[in-house]
Symmetry: C2
Subunit: 487 residues, 2 copies
């Protein structure tokens, strides 16, 4: 699953711990190859105008300008997103905005970006309207999991491909725009070819990924993508971050910190200096930035946290891989009809966001060693669990590290963690509510009470020697040509 | 499911809100009827020596002394429980202690009290060893859920009955002993008849329940018992209590309380005066015990808590009813082979248990109005959700109130909450770890931040008019002849 065979694009071999992976380096210089890559595709229909639908429709249209390949947006009747789509140039008048099923019936590549629950409810109707041989496009593996749970699969005769950006939709668009004047920028993406009846599925997936602006594209399977994606957002990408800052804010307050200091030592440290240090120089750089008693505290915090965090990631992984998590999402979605989703920003800490953000003009947030130890241990636990479950290194570093430090945490820094969570998919929002409290409890009941134990020299050595650092360094050479800037 | 037809025991009709339920009042005066009730049963085999196995084997043996019906205990080879069984008179020498399958093969009533996961793994082997027509006895509905999850059922030709004490095993034994000099005491139990090929299943279930010392016995189905039992322990019986005291202890500390005061206002208030008040006089008595500003705070706390708690109970109910919770328990059990169960008493608060307990000699714990509001709202939310899902009132009040205030909370008061959780079944221990943090987060992020909102007059009125108070009052007339005393 980690090789890519293309007759259109020139791939590269990337050395990763224990082997190699085939990747495609992106860039605007490849846009002339897009028509050949999109073999047989004249009309692309993007169904849905959530953050991913919006970003992908816009990037695809911009990248394909002048090629004759059109991009249309399909929305359910009465969708409140129609106005924003029109404001962005997708209109009924120019034939690029229509009803969901009309656009599905008219397109050669139908990209399914409606919400998971809607997809679970409507996929059969959509499949029935497709042109013969039309390519089915996905941006994550949820639908495969849903189909497999009831012993089904995608309809015969249709290529089924996925291009899965490793970042939220808004960042997919924002980086693409911010990198327009250099040779492009964007969010790394994985591709998966699930069905290839005409032999052109891989090239179409690569073309789609290049058109989105992906700095580099790696290969996976729908199943592997689904598992790492759903587990990752429940763990280090969203759930663990929320649980971490809820636990640490109260911890610092109980240790005597005033609210602003407690906020800065927890949330601000994670979304600011810790994320930036990892982004720029990798995980060991966080520890190396500390010295003396601070580094020793980092080591104790790391040692106290790694196992409880690993246990939780393993639990989430089992639940996702065995289908219980997906079933829970469907049940939760049904309850939303009568019980609205609960608020996630209710804790007192979030009332201090504005003041902390104002203080950025005059203060520099320190890299808190305790917070850093808990966060880095949790991130490493996810990396190790993914490696133990056989994921490719590109998938591991993108789903566990790069998506966090280059996409989500900068957004959390610009707004706040709770706000950010509720700008993600409903599946992610529900998952954060399910698992964030579990991480909080693990930190409060297991990690923080063990802080006084001496550091575990073996755990620290394993961290310093972890092969992920090599894998991340290789991936970092392919990172976007610009850092994301969140206004 | 709420009527009982017996040719041996004289049942009574109990008036409950909206109708009636048939119940059997227990008592040692009924012991002469046990041989007739246990129609065709000469040998009872109790498999397992956990808290329930131990209590039931001892109570059955004592109640059946002199009848000629024998009680034997079956254990897996090498069980560490064998010594305690021998110390209690179940020995190889007198033929009442043997290997699991040997005892199963030799008994007319085989009571399955090994751990859920072991039962899931071994039930087929056990079924194959049974005598023709031997009665299968359960003490909760887990196995039915497990069988149904894979489209199976119990083997044909065997009566299948359940007697489900609404309290932990230790209390089943302790109350039986403490009530020996009056006309008996024990823990209320529900019975379910799942298969009745010879027409004597109901009488056997009633005899078993009477022999355990149940003050009153009510009827349910295995499925209904399973759902209320598993949901209840995840919510108000264990999970919500743990989440509540973890949240409130930190809350009071952050409000300026010292550790001892914070412990007393949270844990001590729940396990002491709140539980005792409900046990003696019902839920509204908690509010009535408060006046002025305290009652007003109770009302605000109740109003802020009810909906978030109800949402969570509904979520747990869905997960249990749809089988995902059971699947998660099986997955968790598999992980225990390589990852030991995490500690649950790690929070700093538990280090103060001993000092708080010592202070009981000289201080009286107040009924904290804030803690009371959160706890009573959560208990009422469970009651209302169970009623909405169609459970019988006897089941609702026993699984939501009586088991809490007359069995579990007194034990938590004697030791502490965290200790108590880990003296329950593995299914309950795992469930508390899964759901306790969810309740904590709901209290911290939703209920406590809403405390300053005015009380919801409609919610308070609905609480005061709740039909559960009438149902609990009727059940209370049948309560044990002695209060439990935990040394």
């Amino acid at each position: 699953m980690t090789t890519i065979n293309s007759s259109v694009f020139t791939t590269e071999t990337m050395t990763v711990p224990g082997g190699t992976e085939t990747i495609l380096r992106g860039g605007r210089d490849l846009f002339p190859l897009l028509p050949e890559g999109f073999h047989g595709i004249e009309k692309i229909g993007v169904l849905g105008w959530g953050p991913q639908g919006r970003a992908q429709a816009l990037n695809l249209r911009d990248s394909l300008a002048g090629t004759g390949i059109t991009v249309s947006v399909g929305l359910r009747p009465g969708s409140t997103s129609a106005d924003d789509a029109r404001a962005n140039g997708f209109t009924e008048e120019n034939g690029t905005l229509g009803e969901l099923l009309t656009v599905a019936a008219d397109s050669d590549l139908v990209i399914l970006l409606i919400a998971d629950a809607a997809l679970a409810a409507q996929h059969e109707t959509i499949f029935q309207t497709l042109k013969p041989g039309a390519t089915i496009g996905l941006s994550h593996g949820f639908l495969l999991g849903h189909l497999q749970a009831s012993g089904r699969d995608f309809p015969e005769g249709h290529p089924v491909i996925a291009v899965c950006p490793k970042g939220m939709g808004d960042s997919v668009r924002r980086l693409y725009q911010q990198g327009a004047t250099v040779n492009g920028a964007g969010i790394n993406a994985s591709i998966a070819v699930h069905a290839d009846p005409d032999g052109h599925a891989t090239d179409r997936a690569l073309a789609w990924s290049v058109a989105l602006g992906s700095p580099y594209t790696f290969a996976t399977t729908l199943s592997s993508e689904y598992r790492s994606d759903i587990v990752g957002e429940r763990a280090i990408l969203l759930g663990a971050v929320h649980g971490l800052v809820e636990a640490l804010y109260r911890y610092f307050r109980l240790q005597g910190s005033d609210p602003i200091t407690a906020y800065e030592r927890s949330t601000e440290a994670v979304t600011g200096p810790i994320a930036r240090t990892i982004s720029a120089a990798g995980l060991p750089a966080v520890r190396a930035a500390l010295s003396g008693a601070d580094q020793e505290l980092f080591d104790r915090a790391y040692s106290a946290t790694y196992l409880p965090a690993r246990d939780l990631v393993a639990e989430i992984y089992d639940e996702v891989a065995e289908g219980t998590e997906l079933r829970s999402v469907v049940l939760a979605d049904q309850r939303l009809a009568t019980r609205p989703m609960t608020a996630i920003a209710g804790s007192e800490m979030w009332s201090h966001s504005a003041e902390v953000h104002e203080r950025r003009a005059t203060t520099t947030t320190a890299l808190d060693p305790l917070t850093a130890g808990l966060f880095v241990a949790t991130m490493t636990a996810q990396v190790d669990e993914f490696a133990a479950r056989g994921h490719a290194w590109s998938e591991i570093v993108n789903e566990s590290i790069i998506e966090a430090v280059d996409s989500l945490l900068p957004y959390m820094h610009a707004r706040d963690v709770a706000f950010m969570v509720d700008n993600c998919s409903r599946t992610a929002r529900l998952g954060t509510r399910r698992w964030g409290p579990r991480f909080q409890a693990a930190y409060e009941q297991l990690a923080l009470p063990a802080l006084d134990n001496p550091a575990d020299a073996k755990a620290i050595e394993a961290f310093l020697q972890n092969p992920v650092h090599e894998a991340l360094a290789v991936a970092a050479e392919l990172r976007p040509s610009v850092d994301i800037s969140v206004s």
